[in-house]
């Protein structure tokens, strides 16, 4: 039945991947042991994976080789600071961890401030500050092309959006009169943007599903021995058995009580 040419590891891989995928999908029925098994396997494997990668990337390539082979012993300082983080688990020396944290957080805070002002505040302002009309050789014009983000009409809408939304998140004045009108505009803009985000999120989730189904379809091929069909049937049987057991247990507890 099996076609030649597929290496054994790919074949087993197909079966394992299909099985695990189906285990997770059983959650759609409800939370159950198969799903829990898949979930814990996943956490365990990914933690194990991360440990190995981290040890090689940092421990071997950034610490061991430079220190031992190139004699850059000053790297002991960050290594020590790193180790001190774990002092947090020993109450008596927990203060050591604070030194490391102060270093990490301090570095983060110091480097991020000017960069945020530059990239998220000033650059964004700069791009919003653009003339609302265009001067051409033939005189003053107003470009109405909605599809060109740089057209005058779109510049104006962008300005209204930025101003009204910034104003909406302004807590030191009451939203009354003109303020209320601006805040209302802000909400309208927010809602449309949220709508866009909503649409895109749905798009994302559907793509993920398509990706998984793609694999399931691929693994339903005869060259893999049709693991999708076989394992689907198996999963349903196991799940049905589990539901039956649960019901039995439930019934017996009810009987005991009565």
């Amino acid at each position: 039945m099996l076609a030649d040419g597929l290496p054994l590891d790919v074949l087993i891989g197909a079966w394992v991947a299909t099985g695990l995928t189906l285990f997770i999908y059983t959650f759609l029925y409800r939370d159950n042991p198969l799903f829990k098994l898949g979930e814990h396997l996943y956490v365990g494997i990914s933690v194990g994976y991360s440990i190995v990668i981290t040890v090689y990337a940092v421990g071997v390539k950034l610490l061991w080789i430079p220190m031992v082979e190139k004699g850059q012993w000053q790297l002991l300082i960050p290594a020590l600071l790193g180790l001190m983080i774990s002092a947090r688990f020993f109450p008596r020396i927990a203060w050591l961890a604070r030194i490391s944290f102060a270093f990490v957080v301090g570095f983060g805070a110091g480097t991020i401030i000017p960069r945020l002002i530059s990239s998220n505040v000033l650059s964004q302002l700069e791009d919003t500050i653009s003339p609302l009309v265009t001067m051409t050789a033939s005189g003053l014009t107003y470009t109405m092309d909605f599809l060109d983000p740089k057209s005058d009409i779109n510049n104006f809408i962008t300005l209204i959006g930025v101003v009204s939304v910034l104003f909406y998140f302004f807590f030191s004045v009451e939203h009354r009169g003109v303020g209320q009108a601006i805040a209302r505009t802000g909400i309208m803009f927010l809602m449309i943007a949220f709508g866009a985000a909503f649409g895109y999120t749905v798009m994302s989730r559907m793509s993920l599903l398509i990706g998984r189904f793609d694999d399931l379809i691929m693994f339903s091929g005869a060259e893999y021995g049709r693991p999708t069909f076989v394992l689907l049937a198996l999963t349903v049987v196991v799940l049905a058995y589990w539901v039956y057991r649960e019901k039995q247990a439930f019934r017996s507890t009810v009987e005991e009580k009565s």
């Binding site: 494997i45 604070r98 101003v163 909503f198």
Partner: protein, 196 residues
């Protein structure tokens, strides 16, 4: 603060400080690891319902670490064949994580049917924008109504951009304020992870 100073001495400082940060970042893994081990050891020790799953977790982790050491941390060996470590990654970890998040596709659908109601004018506006977006960003939508693609594009480029820009500015101010508080020692939450 080094940002404003282009002098090589300050650049050198940034070079080594950022390199140190990477090394310290590697050790941060220990934090998460120890909490995870504590949590699940506790479950096993107390024989809480479902402690067996914690055992599964440890077994999976252990197997992965051993496989990783055998493979030298590489997914592909010198002949571009999967190592044991790479195999577990490709055929167990990738499908598991991928599937976990694809579950959401189903939940979005059921929530769309049950909970996404236009209770207020604002919510109605949100839903209309969402429908336009879902319509305009797929081939079928553009095939049925070519203009829908342009509408989606305009919403993204103009309305969405302006709102996101305002939010970006607001959030950045918040982050800058937080960083200032950290530097001046007003905010110490990060040190002990406990509320003062």
């Amino acid at each position: 603060m080094q940002y404003y100073v282009p002098h090589p001495a300050s650049e050198a400082l940034l070079t080594s400080a950022s390199n140190w940060m990477i090394i310290i970042g590697g050790f941060a893994l220990i934090l998460g690891l120890v909490s995870l081990i504590q949590l699940h050891m506790n479950r096993i020790q107390r024989n809480v319902e479902g402690w067996g799953y914690s055992g599964v977790l440890f077994a999976a982790m252990f197997v992965m670490v051993i496989a990783g050491i055998l493979a030298g941390g590489e997914n592909l060996d010198s002949e571009r064949e999967l190592t044991g470590y790479g195999w577990t990654y490709s055929y167990a970890m990738v499908p598991l994580q991928g599937t976990m998040f694809s579950l959401l596709a189903f939940f979005v659908a059921s929530a769309a049917y049950r909970a996404f109601r236009a209770r207020t004018k604002e919510a109605a506006l949100l839903l209309v924008a969402a429908i336009l977006m879902m319509w305009g960003r797929v081939p079928l939508g553009e095939y049925l109504w070519a203009f829908s693609g342009d509408i989606a594009q305009w919403i993204l480029n103009v309305i969405n951009s302006s709102v996101r820009r305002a939010i970006l500015i607001g959030v950045s101010l918040g982050m800058i304020a937080l960083s200032i508080k950290i530097i001046f020692g007003i905010e110490r939450m990060y040190l002990g992870g406990k509320k003062e």
